[in-house]
Symmetry: C2
Subunit: 419 residues, 2 copies
């Protein structure tokens, strides 16, 4: 198995100001293609540190991937170190990247300054993959320091993540990779430990060349990834499908997608398929549900809109929640969740709607502890509500409230579409 | 200056399943007390890797801090490696940690198994700081491998973070620490390269013991961090304030906060201070603006609510945008942005409002390219609009649209409050 090291360059990681998400994304992608990441490192914007670290990592890994250290400001000395390590005698300007530098700055209405132009300069030994998303080039150094391949990626997260497909393609083209198959299913509404217990007999009976990984995420639930190493791909693929069919039988409606997906994507798929529209009324989730739904490209086909009713006056005036309902039952109640869902459904004329009212934190109120949420779903046939209780901090609660609401909506939608 | 290395032990980081937040929290704390973190590493649950890595890090750092590798399951072999490295001949049970193991398991209604009891065993060379939040002890090894100090922390994030104060106290007691000062200012509305060029004369004239770092983020702009190493804290602090005053003079209204902050926090502060309320109408940002505003605890004091008007019918019916305005000028237009802002301000009765209409992607329309957004701001005195053009992917555009809208609102708010 090929092995890789991921090196992050930049003081901002080492002083704890920035969380290193690039290494995680790279590690996940490499692992999925069967490359073993045996080390991750962060080093500062210091030429000697970078040089010593890269030399050592190249001596013990087939692939070294760096992110960061390529910005236009003077902190960034990575390119010079790479020139020295790769035996470059000079820097050359890369026409494709230079064009991109001009395009990007012009599209932002900015002047192209000398430091911007210098971003397209690379050591003569580098192969360049044009960075479509930013001004710093993606560089590939082959046989650097006696054998390994070094990929240098920009540090800006969306640029680093955007570079991953091109890097993987390059690795596939130049390295011998042993085969690995993955299949994902998405599960929501069960804790990891309970899930593990429920599927233990199935998991224990898996063939020796198959392995199940639990990949939990507060917004999307648990991704179950079945992997199979080596063997005939067609035959193994068929065997994996058989195993997954059995697993889905055990888990029933806890499974919401048969591939790597999200609740909002899956909801979008269902709504689109049946020509239905959706709206939302949010109190404690404060826009997060609308944000999740509209993060899916093409969501304008089914999502009409939403009302964030943070103030009681907006709940009453815009959504038409009766003042008496709030007075009698409290803002965080089944009755208010139902009235909000019905109100926004009527206001927007959507087929379905979802609503939340709860306490994300930092404090609860006199009736409900922090972490309580009521979710309402209004449909052409009926209105449903459910209460969930969590115990996390504000940010985490907003995420869990939104995901729980989308899942409750999904279950009601499926049950009405099925019967 | 003392230097430190932070080592994370565990396969879950290296396969990209888990994001390493512990190292960030540790780094931030160490940096604040003037300890230079010169390296972060992640290694797998492999005895040889752990041993080699720790030996190397101890040879070049005063302090090495590990997190992870201390769970009760068989993956976790860190304790054995630490015993060997520190020359321990036996393990001893620590009474304080053993008591904690019993307390924690009993409070969860669980039996205390032999593997739980073994968690309180430590190499005889270790000093123990009792982990109040979990079953694995916090261990301190002094003069390990010839001089350095090694701190071994549990990997569970809230336990690792919970251990930080005790670790810092121990470091303060046992090491001589030189002083470091940091000051942040927040900047929005200028590219990093243009900012760098604009402040170059100021930056070049900084005293040798001061250093400026650029920390960009699409949602919060650029954090400029001025650091000063050594010297008399009071005098240095005064000198830093002088430097920052000059910097703020150069940057003017591009500076939005005099400390580590965000646009939504700063807006909240301004609105609260002046007893003003806010609402939002979102098309292309789809709830992101409301989500950002309500992510600030206490935002219910000034944020009344918002309408996400994805469908034209919602723009017309709920926000009262005249059908003729949309027909004449198009949905993505100054006129519609203004009408949306005015509409939601009237609907919610807020003092101020902000609205967005644009094309986040993946496609533009016949009139505007993808990445175009019109922002409207309605106030007690007037209505303002502005157009921004970006070119990123959908997720990125939504973030930039929302941040630009918040910044435009901030500028209008300040100008009306000032005059």
């Amino acid at each position: 198995m090929k092995c890789a090291s991921i090196v992050t360059i930049g003081d901002e990681i080492l002083i704890g100001q920035v969380l290193d998400t690039n290494s995680r994304e790279l590690a996940r992608s490499l692992e999925e293609m069967g490359i073993h990441v045996s080390r991750m490192l962060s080093v500062s914007d210091n030429a000697q540190d970078i040089s010593e670290t890269l030399t050592r990592e190249l001596s013990s890994h087939d692939i070294v991937i760096t992110t960061g250290g390529l910005g236009p400001t003077k902190d960034d000395i990575t390119k010079g170190v790479l020139a020295t390590l790769s035996g470059s005698r000079k820097m050359v300007s890369h026409p494709g990247q230079l064009k991109k530098v001009h395009e990007i700055l012009q599209s932002r209405g900015l002047d192209v300054l000398p430091i911007n132009i210098a971003q397209a300069d690379v050591p003569e030994t580098a192969e360049v993959i044009v960075n479509e998303l930013g001004t710093a080039p993606i560089m590939v150094f082959r046989n650097i320091k006696g054998g390994g391949t070094l990929y240098s990626l920009p540090g800006v997260p969306h640029e680093a993540v955007g570079a991953i497909p091109a890097i993987l393609e390059d690795i596939r083209k130049h390295q011998e990779i042993s085969s690995i198959l993955h299949r994902n299913i998405m599960v929501y509404g069960i804790a990891e430990s309970a899930l593990s217990e429920r599927i233990a007999p199935w998991e224990d009976a898996l063939p020796g060349d198959m392995h199940l990984a639990y990949l939990p995420n507060p917004l999307t639930g648990i991704r179950l990834r079945l992997s199979c190493y080596g063997g005939n791909p067609e035959e193994k693929s068929r065997q994996m499908e058989e195993q997954l069919a059995a697993l889905k039988g055990i888990l029933g409606e806890l499974v919401y997608a048969d591939e790597d997906s999200s609740l909002e994507k899956e909801l979008g798929r269902l709504l689109k398929e049946h020509g239905l529209t959706l709206s939302a009324a949010e109190s404690c989730t404060g826009g997060e549900i609308a944000h999740l739904i509209t993060s899916v490209a093409g969501s304008s086909a089914y999502f009409l809109g939403s009302v964030t009713s943070y103030a009681i006056s907006v709940k009453e005036k815009v959504l038409g929640v009766p003042a008496d309902t709030i007075r009698l039952h409290g803002v965080v109640s089944s009755e208010v969740a139902a009235a909000m869902a019905e109100g926004v459904r009527k206001l927007t004329g959507s087929d379905y709607s979802v609503a939340t009212t709860g306490l994300a934190g930092p404090r609860g109120d006199e009736f409900n502890p922090v972490g309580t949420v009521w979710v309402g779903v209004a449909t052409p046939r009926s209105t449903y509500t459910v209460k969930y209780c969590y115990k996390n901090d504000r940010k985490r609660n907003i995420e869990r409230f939104a995901a729980s609401a989308l899942n409750f909506l999904r279950l009601k939608l499926i049950s009405e579409l099925t019967y």
